[in-house]
């Protein structure tokens, strides 16, 4: 076996490739953070809906979760990007397709909607882990049903599910790489672009791996801080 390959790590910083990578990293962070906000808000709403006292509300949330979990994210993204504008009819379609940076917005919303279904499952599991007594105790202090959820159950459940949410937060940055398939120039897209210009995709992808590892470390650090800040008194948490 002969390694007929000359490594050129310079593609990681030489102009213009270094700047491309930095732009890609900045986009990856944007995609992950904004989509995470959508996912968190929608996920908490859906997760709460899944334990609502009205059956049709529960069914609606369950249907959402099932659909978004059982279709690959890539297919969802393609559907929103290519078929989405068509759903609005001819005239609006042309207007929507003319929006500059449409793929960027579609990627953020698509990623948010997809991750929301996963967050919803964790939220539901968090509710399920709260003892029935807690609900009754909240009601017995004179809180209304809505107040009980707002001030007792939801804050409690959110703290319980911080560890699984950390995993989802990590996953959202990893999944944001799928946005390259609709032409969003995030980190993975840039490594591919560098490869097509220099044929040194191996160095570029290896560099990108380090980038994702660092983002992951950052997320774990951040969530660790949040977890210790909001630890429920009396419960044994992670160190």
């Amino acid at each position: 076996m002969r390694l007929a390959y000359n490594f050129d790590w310079g593609v990681l910083w030489r102009a213009p490739y270094g700047v491309w990578l930095l732009q890609g990293i900045w986009l990856t962070i944007q995609l992950g953070l904004i989509a995470w906000i959508i996912a968190l808000v929608l996920g908490v709403i859906l997760g709460t809906m899944r334990i609502a006292p009205w059956p049709w509300v529960r069914r609606l949330a369950t249907a959402y979760v099932e659909v978004f979990r059982n279709v690959p994210f890539l297919v969802q993204l393609f559907f929103w990007y290519f078929a989405g504008p068509m759903l609005f009819g001819q005239t609006l379609m042309f207007k929507i397709n003319a929006i500059s940076g449409l793929n960027y917005y579609v990627a953020i919303v698509g990623l948010g909607l997809y991750t929301a279904s996963r967050v919803a499952e964790h939220v539901r599991a968090g509710f399920a882990s709260i003892a029935r007594d807690q609900f009754q105790a909240a009601l017995s202090t004179g809180l209304t049903e809505i107040q009980m959820y707002r001030f007792v159950i939801i804050p409690y459940a959110l703290r319980i599910i911080i560890p699984p949410l950390t995993t989802e937060f990590l996953t959202i940055f990893k999944n944001s790489s799928v946005a390259m398939t609709i032409g969003v120039a995030e980190t993975t897209f840039m490594t591919y672009k560098i490869d097509s210009e220099t044929f040194h995709g191996l160095e570029a992808t290896t560099g990108a791996m380090v980038v994702y590892l660092l983002i992951g470390l950052g997320v774990v650090k951040l969530m660790g801080m949040i977890e210790s800040r909001f630890r429920i008194a009396g419960l044994v948490g992670r160190k």
Partner: protein, 216 residues
């Protein structure tokens, strides 16, 4: 309504066959390597444990697309000639999914209480009998739902081989869409195909979940 799908059905179905084949090889290879990963993660030999743990933590923190690209770039260097997307995709999926299967197997093994193993020994069972009749059956039953779920995830993940030009279902659909421009029905069709198959899989997984709760 489904005219574009209907016209291109043979072409799309051939793509689905590629998806199924890739899933099959990814699962066989991923679970086999996953067993080794799981064993490595419970190994008492420090160097095995740390090597495998490094591998698992590295791969699990990297997007699958990047792993697919990396192997697509590195394989020609190792083999010495350009490589087809299919074998390259199979290798990246095996390397990637094995870390997930390995962690499921490790968790299943560690979920069996030490007391139960001690009890088995105290009845006079040998190490192999304990493993064969107590440890493996219980651990297997506990990890089966997660194994099925991860298999469904693997099946969905195969769509990402799109990025290296593997003509699987999603790639072919986007090729057809480029000609027909019937995005709603074409991508709707792919979504329905994945939804039905994955939903059936999740029902199976849930049945085993119920069984798991009944057992100890």
């Amino acid at each position: 309504m489904f005219d574009a799908v209907w016209r291109n059905l043979p072409y799309l179905l051939a793509g689905y066959w590629v998806t199924v084949k890739l899933t099959f090889f990814a699962l066989i290879g991923g679970i086999t390597l996953g067993i080794l990963v799981g064993l490595g993660r419970i190994s008492k030999r420090k160097w095995i444990y740390y090597t495998v743990t490094f591998y698992v933590n590295l791969i699990r923190n990297i997007p699958l697309i990047l792993v697919i690209f990396w192997f697509y770039f590195v394989m020609p260097i190792i083999v010495g000639r350009p490589m087809d997307p299919f074998p390259s995709a199979v290798i990246s999926f095996i390397i990637f999914e094995a870390t997930y299967f390995g962690e499921i197997l490790r968790a299943g093994y560690q979920s069996v209480s030490r007391d139960l193993i001690q009890a088995a020994y105290s009845t006079g069972m040998t190490y192999w009998q304990t493993t064969r009749y107590i440890l493996v059956p219980i651990a297997f039953r506990r990890m089966l739902p997660s194994m099925i779920t991860q298999s469904i995830v693997t099946y969905q993940d195969t769509s990402l081989a799109f990025v290296i030009g593997l003509p699987e279902l999603v790639r072919r659909t986007s090729i057809v869409d480029g000609l027909e421009v019937r995005s709603i029905q074409l991508f709707g069709f792919v979504a329905v195909v994945f939804f039905i198959t994955c939903y059936l899989g999740s029902i199976v997984s849930r049945r085993f979940e119920v069984q798991k709760e009944r057992g100890f």
